[in-house]
């Protein structure tokens, strides 16, 4: 994959981001804990969007459109269900 994905996943940025979020959630508890959970849930979806951007840049429109459709459908379905 491209440099964006490498930086997000391979560069351990993701790991340290998650670690910070979890520590914040555990120490603070309550609503900030919910905020931490929400941010954690956003990370995989952000990763898909990064792949969408990189695919579009490479003119891999099938992947780019599939990724966008997937994210929109997932959020819509889960919000409605």
């Amino acid at each position: 994959m491209g440099r964006l994905t490498d930086r997000l996943v391979g560069g351990r940025v993701l790991f340290y981001l998650l670690l910070l979020l979890y520590i914040a959630g555990i120490v603070l508890g309550g609503r900030p804990c919910m905020g931490a959970a929400a941010l954690v849930a956003v990370v995989p979806i952000s990763l898909v969007l990064v792949v969408v951007v990189e695919s579009a840049r490479d003119r891999d429109w099938y992947t780019a459109v599939s990724g966008l459709v997937m994210v929109l459908l997932l959020i819509a379905v889960k919000a409605i269900a």
Partner: protein, 254 residues
């Protein structure tokens, strides 16, 4: 600050589920939900928290698989869009179909997949270093299978990884380790959307979710470290045995 909101029991269960999930490319919800419910936790709290922990399983150690070049993001994303469509069909036909028949059919499919994987291992030694990444091979068949995967997930309540790994391996032609790593990424995406839905409804118990997720992240990292060291042949055998166990569990649950 009113004490640490971490319950040690979910953390321990999370470590086990995260390890297995990461090693097999599944979410681990099939371990977490029944165990916590059996321990007296409220299922309404367990299901959203379990989804958050699946995100932990997915992200814990993803960098290890990524650095080995084992996560085929594009193939996974291309399939997952049609999986969501299958889920939609499943949700809307749930009342028309007999769940027992579906579970029996799913068990047979899992047994068939496991048997064919084991037979393939016997017939030929798989490549140790895997095939080249393929973005287009057998895409149509893969998408049809992905619709079936989403359909069965919605109807029977199984996670995507149990069917997702065989689809990536047998249809899309990824080697076993790539299939597991890619599925590990995908189960996190699907679960994350579910978590956001529960958060919007205020149905997530964040402390239970974070306790579980702490465990699944640690288990996920350890599972990835073990997973990259296994050969494709060993990964295939472990996954085939897991499918056989899951098919028995589905039959026994009726």
């Amino acid at each position: 600050m009113a004490g640490l909101p971490v319950d040690p029991v979910p953390v321990v269960i999370g470590v086990l589920a995260g390890f297995l999930g990461s090693l097999l490319g599944v979410g681990g919800g099939s371990v977490i939900t029944p165990v916590l419910v059996a321990l007296g936790y409220d299922i309404k709290q367990v299901i959203p928290a379990s989804l958050l922990s699946i995100v932990g399983t997915s992200l814990g150690g993803l960098d290890i698989y990524h650095r080995e070049g084992l996560v085929d993001y594009r193939t996974g994303i291309r399939l997952e869009a049609t999986t969501v469509l299958g889920s939609l069909i499943g949700v809307h036909t749930a009342l028309l179909l007999e769940p027992r028949m579906l579970k029996a059919a799913l068990s047979l499919v899992l047994i068939y997949i496991a048997a064919s994987m084991l037979r393939k291992i016997r017939q030929a030694n798989e490549e140790e270093h895997g095939s080249e990444m393929s973005y287009t091979r057998r895409q149509l068949l893969g998408n049809v299978a992905a619709v079936f995967k989403g359909f069965m997930s919605a109807l029977v309540g199984i996670g995507g990884g149990i069917l997702g790994v065989p689809i990536l391996h047998r249809i899309m032609g990824l080697d076993m380790k790539r299939s597991i790593a890619t599925s590990k990424f995908l189960v996190g995406v699907t679960a994350a959307a579910g978590v956001l839905g529960y958060i919007m409804k205020g149905a997530l118990d964040p402390c239970l979710g974070i306790s579980l997720s702490l465990g699944t992240i640690v288990g996920g990292i350890v599972g990835s470290m073990v997973g990259v060291r296994l050969s494709n042949k060993t990964s295939s055998i472990v996954f085939a045995l897991f499918l056989l166990v899951m098919s028995i569990v589905i039959i026994l649950r009726g």
